[in-house]
């Protein structure tokens, strides 16, 4: 696999870095502390085309590629895990399923607003009793004339309180199991739709996470996404793509922690020497960087396969599994290198450690990634 970036990718990466450093980093501690959604940053990202990076210009996208999207999430996550997941959930979990499974009318109706960032997107699959076991959907959708009536609730929905457009899954045929799940495009303004309480989380605290509630929610028939009964397949394919986004987030968090650790250990003096002069520090940082570099290869490889329309489900699972576990390990090691200061909110590494943990859980836990990988290997 050729990992040489194209000239265009080098240009966008330079912009992402400058943008992250100047616009995102200064807010990262504040939005974490205040558990505040960074709406002002989303507005700025929208103007630069970062809310629809790899979608065609005819649908309001920036006409870029999947790797440029992955690098965007990576660069944002180096300084702020929250801002990274806003882009990832919006792009991978809402824009992508509409682009990949929507009718021409649905794409023309929804994508221009989403890709330009005028509207924010979210994805509703998880329910209180359907987490990793996503097939246990209890939300129902019943066709009544020209519309479906949805009843039930979703939980842990990223961007939930701030999104306008949702890709939501519900049972249209309870007897059919996975084959009875269908996908819908739901607008915030649809009657019977409401957003629930904001979850107080350990990390990515600036990101909005909440319940979605459907009480006789009226969804026009034309908002069925894909065919009736094909929702589970759409959800799984969407999560394959989403894993590239979350793997990129984990990658950035780990890389950000390595950068912070290098900077800090070159400044901090103990026993009349810089911390960086101790072999323990050198070996720790060498290992940390090596793990993140390996994660980057996996993430970029999965992104390039998706871009080239090659099968990438196992690659995305491996990228997310490895990057998430590496990020958790590397950010924890960074806190250790910082010592007591690392445990305080004066320095960013404790936030990075808290932010990294979720990457092992959402959009498929590490255990689910192992199931996906082993099943691709025929180990059943």
């Amino acid at each position: 696999m050729d990992f040489h970036l194209t000239k265009e990718q080098l240009l966008v990466r330079k912009m992402y870095r400058e943008f992250a450093e100047n616009e995102v980093k200064p807010l990262a501690a504040e939005i974490d502390e205040e558990e505040r959604f960074p709406a002002e940053t989303v507005e700025k990202m929208a103007k630069l085309g970062m809310m629809g990076i790899y979608f065609p210009k005819e649908y309001g996208g920036a006409g870029g590629d999947v790797l440029s999207y992955a690098m965007c999430v990576e660069e944002l996550a180096k300084v702020c895990g929250t801002t990274a997941v806003v882009v990832s959930a919006h792009t991978s979990l809402c824009c992508a399923p509409i682009f990949e499974h929507g009718t021409e009318e649905q794409k023309k109706k929804y994508l221009p607003d989403l890709c330009s960032g005028r509207k924010l997107g979210a994805f509703g699959l998880t329910e209180p009793n359907a987490g990793t076991d996503a097939s246990g959907q209890q939300t129902t959708a019943v066709l009544e004339g020209d519309h479906y009536v949805l009843n039930g609730s979703k939980c842990f929905i990223t961007n939930g309180n701030v999104a306008d457009t949702f890709v939501v899954f519900a049972m249209t045929d309870k007897k059919a199991g996975n084959h009875g799940i269908s996908a819908f495009i739901v607008e915030k303004s649809f009657p019977g739709f409401s957003q629930g309480k904001h979850e107080k989380k350990m990390g990515i605290r600036g990101s909005s996470t909440c319940d979605l509630i459907f009480e006789d929610c009226i969804v026009p028939k034309e908002n069925l996404l894909g065919q009736e009964g094909k929702g589970f397949k759409i959800a799984m394919q969407t999560l394959d793509g989403g894993r590239i986004g979350i793997a990129s987030q984990a990658l950035g968090l780990g890389e950000g922690a390595v950068e912070e650790a290098i900077k800090y250990t070159q400044e901090r003096i103990q026993f009349h020497r810089r911390l960086s002069q101790f072999q323990n520090t050198q070996f720790q940082i060498a290992d940390m960087h090596t793990h993140m570099q390996a994660a980057q290869f996996l993430v970029y490889s999965a992104a390039m396969k998706k871009q080239n329309h090659e099968p990438y489900s196992m690659d995305a699972a491996m990228a997310k599994l490895f990057a998430a576990e590496a990020a958790s390990d590397v950010t924890r090691r960074a806190v250790q290198l910082f010592g007591g200061y690392g445990y305080t909110r004066e320095y960013p590494v404790e936030r990075m450690m808290r932010d990294a943990k979720i990457t092992e859980i959402y959009e498929g836990t590490s255990e689910v990634q192992r199931m996906v990988i082993s099943s691709h290997l025929g180990v059943k």
Binding site: K7, L11, V12, L48, G49, I53, G63
Partner: protein, 266 residues
Amino acid sequence: MKILVTVKQVPDTSGKVAVNPDGTLDRASMQTIINPDDMNAVEAALKLKDDLGCKVVAFTMGPPPAEGMLRELMAMGVDEGVLITAREFGGSDTYATSQIIAAAIDTYGVEDDDIILAGRQAIDGDTAQVGPQIAEKLHLPQITYAGDIKKEGSTLTVKRMLEDGYMTIKVQTPCMVTCIKELNTPRYLSVGGAFEAYSKPMVIMDYAALKDHPLIDATTIGLKGSPTNIFKSFTPPQKGVGMMLPGADKETTDKLAGILATKHII
């Protein structure tokens, strides 16, 4: 109407500065950035483009890799790049450089309603001479140190920022305006812009393209055509970190006097 912007790739002075034996900068061995004041000129041009829908063309003189800088400006919204590059142009001082860029701009063509924008000065030479010299050689009016630019018809109203105040000047196009950082905040390039940048037109003007222009003469270009003689080039030693003593009382002044006395300054 179009806007022509002159830009320069300069060494990133936050890194180490390298000098050739002849005293000129060893640009090849240094990291480069787009000259900061030039970014303000580009932003001013793009703002006028946003408002008026005109075309923006960026000109630069430099080695072939300077194309990368022009592509970056295209990703911000510049429509076309002109790269002036030839071995014969190497080593030019401000006189020779302005001679060559003026010839390139004239060859490209300046119409009655065009504006030429430049940064006030480059962070490598800090001369602030190239913009004004281009204007002189093209016989165009010039306004330096622009902190605000407004266009109505063929009239530009420019606020010139001076050390002790400002001056508002009206000028007719075509004209040259040099820009300062207070003029605006340069925009970021956009993702969509980056993916279009390499398909936008790039004009290469080499020695053959310009040699017949009246301003181009072997005695007025390159190192030989440069009247500047470099006496010495060096990296200035880094200044120490300053110290702030807040307060306007005797205790503070005594403290200041004590510090200065310790350092044998007083």
